[in-house]
């Protein structure tokens, strides 16, 4: 059967799904990017984006929710590309998530450390 299925435990799969949009927002916080570029950056992390095509519905949703905005720019290799960038609302959402994530992941780390002792 074609296509890849995300690997890992079900909760890891869920975790990736839940954090993916914030990873996208974080990548856009650095600089505006176009779809293919985002896919390449995310694919560096194993299993973060599988299958690749699912980023496009996500980007469409982020645009709908006004967390990102888009712009058409000339491309060296052919037709114009759609570039994505953070809106102010997107920046705020990223900041909020960042704090929550830090608290949450620290807590999880502490529990895991206790189990390792």
């Amino acid at each position: 059967m074609r296509g890849m299925v995300a690997s890992g435990s079900p909760s890891l799969v869920q975790l990736r799904k839940g954090t993916l949009e914030y990873c996208v927002l974080a990548l856009l916080a650095e600089e505006e990017r176009y779809g293919f570029d985002l896919v390449k950056a995310l694919s560096d992390v194993d299993g973060m984006l599988t299958p690749q095509g699912t980023i496009y519905p996500l980007l469409a949703r982020l645009r709908r929710e006004n967390l990102v905005s888009t712009d058409w720019k000339e491309s060296p290799s052919g037709p114009p590309r759609r570039y994505y960038r953070l809106t102010a609302k997107g920046r705020r959402a990223l900041r909020t998530f960042s704090e929550e994530w830090r608290r949450f992941s620290n807590a999880v780390d502490r529990f895991l450390e206790r189990a390792e002792k």
Binding site: R2, G3, M4, G35, F36, V39, T50, P51, Q52, G53, T54, Y56, P57, L58, L59, A60, R61, R63, R64, S75, S77, G78, P79, R81, R82
Partner: protein
């Protein structure tokens, strides 16, 4: 090179069909972005892709149905699908249209058939056979019924032993086409084929292909 374009087009057709219940602008946005991505990935190779490379690119992009699942997020039910009026009219014109407006009705049907976004190219080719079968049947029956050769019917004057008698030879007319039973089978077959194809296309409207 052409088979690669075919592969990409088939993939994008699948994607379009999987997205059929999403709002139209969302469909277009996602399809356009995915197509742009595929083409850019191909152009990054710097040359024509080999078959397996292209398949790998499409594999990594993912099953259209899986991608489409994410497109429906935030909607408890799929949004009302696009109106199928075009397809309904296409089927009407392809069948009875040719009898209401000879030839022209079928031409309108064919135009509607081919501009529809719902049917695949293969289905459109099958649909083109509908008016062809119907035309073959009804114009064929007409042709066969007038294609007859008749012999006889002349008056002959006979003089057996001095007496003159006029005899009219019987008029014998034969159809010069196929045997009637064979042509009936063919005509029935063509009509059955036209009806079946019509139902098949109608069924495809109600059940868009997702594979």
């Amino acid at each position: 090179m052409r088979s690669h374009e075919r592969l990409v087009r088939d993939y994008l057709d699948r994607l379009e069909r999987a997205l059929v219940a999403a709002p139209r602008d969302r469909q277009r946005e996602i399809s356009a972005e995915i197509e742009a991505h595929i083409r850019e990935e191909i152009s990054e190779l710097g040359r024509d892709p080999r078959d397996h490379e292209l398949l790998q690119i499409l594999d990594r992009m993912g099953e259209p149905e899986l991608i489409a699942e994410d497109a429906y997020e935030g909607q408890p039910q799929p949004v009302q699908p696009r109106s199928r009026a075009l397809e309904v009219f296409a089927l009407l014109f392809l069948t009875v249209g040719g009898f209401v407006l000879p030839i022209l009705g079928w031409i309108v049907g064919l135009i509607l058939l081919w501009i529809s976004q719902t049917w695949s190219t293969r289905e459109k080719i099958l649909g083109t056979c509908i008016p062809l079968s119907l035309a073959a049947t009804f114009y064929g029956i007409f042709l066969f019924s007038v294609m007859e050769t008749c012999t006889g019917g002349t008056q002959v004057t006979v003089k057996p032993g001095g007496r003159t008698r006029t005899i009219t030879e019987p008029l014998i007319c034969e159809s010069s086409g196929l045997e009637p039973w064979l042509s009936s089978i063919i005509f029935v077959g063509l009509v059955v084929a036209a009806i079946s194809l019509t139902f098949y296309l109608a069924w495809r409207v109600a059940h868009p292909r997702t594979i």
